[in-house]
Symmetry: C2
Subunit: 234 residues, 2 copies
Amino acid sequence: MSMQIAITVDHGPAALASFPGMPWMLASSTAGLGEAALAQSKPALRFTQDSPIYDEGDKAKLVYKVVSGVVRTCKFLSDGRRQIDAFYGAGEMFGLEIGSAHRLCAEAVSDCIVIPYHRHGLEQLAATDGQFARQFVSYAMRCLARAQDHSLLLGRRSAVQKVAAFLLDLSERSAGDDVIDLPMARHDIGDYLGLTIETVSRTMTQLERDGVIAMPTARRIRLSNRLALEDLNA
Amino acid sequence: MSMQIAITVDHGPAALASFPGMPWMLASSTAGLGEAALAQSKPALRFTQDSPIYDEGDKAKLVYKVVSGVVRTCKFLSDGRRQIDAFYGAGEMFGLEIGSAHRLCAEAVSDCIVIPYHRHGLEQLAATDGQFARQFVSYAMRCLARAQDHSLLLGRRSAVQKVAAFLLDLSERSAGDDVIDLPMARHDIGDYLGLTIETVSRTMTQLERDGVIAMPTARRIRLSNRLALEDLNA
DNA sequence: CGTCTCCTTGAATTAGATCAATATGTGTGG
DNA sequence: CCACACATATTGATCTAATTCAAGGAGACG
């Protein structure tokens, strides 16, 4: 079911600035100039778990920012298998494209709220505001760095190394907390790491047996031995 | 051996514009404004096969454009294994970073000539010239798209699919020619696709047996049945 | 003509996938 | 609150694609 309800959310400058871990523009620099105009371009949208936000090939007229929840971008193969390209959490942007169409699809991992912006508006703003444009580039380059790291992970690492890196990455994203609440299912983790759910599960129980992590519940992970996790990836 | 000789090459606007398949700026838009200033910032450099251009962690003060030959960017793991992130051919740029240091190392796949530009100069130009800045973003986004495709390839494809996709990509880069002259060794192909040299070799001979490709020599591939190759990836 | 590097091929091994079953929730209606 | 259905997660038993280990070829170059 593709539940998509337009709701009213305060997303003026103040609200935007309050999102934690803001990785991108719209936070500080352009609070005066573009912010207001852009923020009011569209109401926030709510998506229920697993509902599509846009599909591969859809016209890419909007760019999104996550307010709450988690979004995944992915591609499907003809045989139904899926590769998840990235997860996006609160404050992160997704959906920006170089061409006219989306190259990946986006789906709600959990129930989530996102704010859509007109891509055209962003581009115009970037064209007139130099500082904004620089943040634009910076954002793209950071995405690129992430994608490169992901490639390295997928190409030359064992299942344990992949899972370890994934957990460390998640921990880092939640301010380095040792306890992680996984917003996504094993299936998602597998499709992100290029593994099956069974291998993900087995690997995690093995890490638990080795005392490297603890799993109070399937969705809650405690990094009991962060050093050991880091050592796995060298 | 790290052979790196400064040589004099005509790389003024005319020479630059003549590189085929120019994927980036400096070609058309800024021929008047920034081009001349940037082009004269440094003499072209020659690197011999397998010599390093920069290392992971080096200060990223320069950005490079390939004049001739092929360059690879890669990361090394503690166990000595290597993941090649990308290959860059004539006219392509590499070495642009978001932070102060290079996140990958760059090496000459074949003997090659590259032109270094001052990153600072590019950034300044981007700050003053809107059109240049837009091409800058466009370049970063295209790199991102490539990296995402690469992730998909590494995560969820079999050896044959990887090799097939690689050959098709190479062909596309050389204007869709059915005959490809591989500039890189099997080792490089393996490290790019997340496979061993043996698997790359076996896979290619299998493709040859199936009549999908022909290999007059190890480094020359003819795509005899492009359709079959494309079908492999669906 | 030998040496070195790169490529191919073969046999044995293994990490991870697949197939199949059981467990652990989690929400629903009685 | 319990019983049931349904999702998601774990665990076990094979199977297989790709790696690893080990020889041979085939060019390139002095």
